[in-house]
Symmetry: C2
Subunit: 150 residues, 2 copies
C-alpha cells in the first residue's frame, strides 16, 4: 500500500503521515526500491488509531503515550484510563472557560438594545478592559486562530 492509499484508508492526509513520520510520532515507513513509502495493514491501523485519538482531542504528546501503551502487550488498562481521565479533565476545563466567555457575552448582548442608536453596553464593557487572567487568554488565542480561517 502506498502513502495515498494509506491516507485514504486511515482518513489522514498523506501530508500528515509524512509529518508524523518526520516528528517521530510514527516510525519511518519501509520504502520500495524507487523510494515510495509502503504501508502494511498494521501500520494503517496505527494511523487510524492516531486519527481517532486526535478526534477525541488528545494532544499529540499524549498520543505518543497512548501509542506506546497500544503497542505494549503487557500494559495495564489503568494506565490508559488515567490518560483518558486526564483528557476528560482538560476538556472539562476548557469547556468551562468557553462557557464563561459565552455567559459574559450573552449578558452583554442581553443588555444591548440592538437598535440604531449608538449606545452599546458591549462596547462600553470592552472599553473597560476587565482582565480574566492568562488562562482564558491562552485559550482564546487558539480559538481565534481556528476561527480566523486559513
Amino acid at each position: 500500500m502506498n502513502i495515498g492509499e494509506a491516507a485514504t484508508a486511515s482518513g489522514m492526509s498523506a501530508k500528515m503521515i509524512r509529518y508524523y513520520e518526520g516528528t517521530g510520532l510514527i516510525p519511518a515507513a519501509d520504502r520500495t526500491t524507487s523510494g515510495y513509502r509502503i504501508y502494511s495493514e498494521t501500520e494503517v491501523q496505527m494511523l487510524r488509531f492516531i486519527r481517532r485519538a486526535r478526534d477525541l482531542g488528545f494532544p499529540v504528546e499524549k498520543i505518543e503515550d497512548l501509542l506506546a501503551l497500544w503497542r505494549d502487550r503487557s500494559r495495564q488498562s489503568a494506565d490508559v484510563k488515567r490518560l483518558a481521565l486526564e483528557q476528560i479533565d482538560g476538556l472539562q476545563r476548557r469547556i468551562q472557560e468557553m462557557q464563561s466567555m459565552m455567559d459574559t457575552l450573552q449578558h452583554l448582548a442581553d443588555a444591548c438594545c440592538g437598535d440604531n442608536r449608538p449606545d452599546c453596553p458591549i462596547l462600553t464593557d470592552l472599553g473597560k478592559g476587565i482582565s480574566q487572567g492568562p488562562l482564558i487568554r491562552e485559550l482564546t488565542s487558539k480559538l481565534q486562530s481556528r476561527a480566523g480561517g486559513r
Copy 2:
C-alpha cells in the same frame, strides 16, 4: 507613556503591541525623536479594548470590526450586537463539539476497568478508527497545539 508602560497598563505584552501595529490592527504609534513609541491614555484604552475582546474569544478579524464600531460615533448598537451574537454562536458550537468528545471519552473510560490487566476498551475503540468528520478534527488540532505547551 512608552511601550512597556502601555503594555503593563493594557495587560498586553510589548511584543504583541508591536505585532498589532505591524499587522495594521492598530495605527502606528507616534515616536519620540529617538524612536521610542509613545502612547496616550486613549491608545491604552484601545489596547485594553482589544485585550478584553480577545478574552471574550473574538477572532482578531472580528476585533477589527469591533474597533471600527468603537471608533465610529454614529454606529448602531445593532451592528455590535450582531457581532456579539455571532461570537456566542461560534462558542456554542465549539462547546458542543468538545462536549461530544468528552462524552465519548467518558463512555470509554466508564467501560474500562482500569486495573492491571491489559484489556482496555479505550485502546480497542481507538484501534477501530471511527471518523467524526472534519469539523471536530479542525477543532482538536487547535486544542492540541494549546495543550501541547511551548
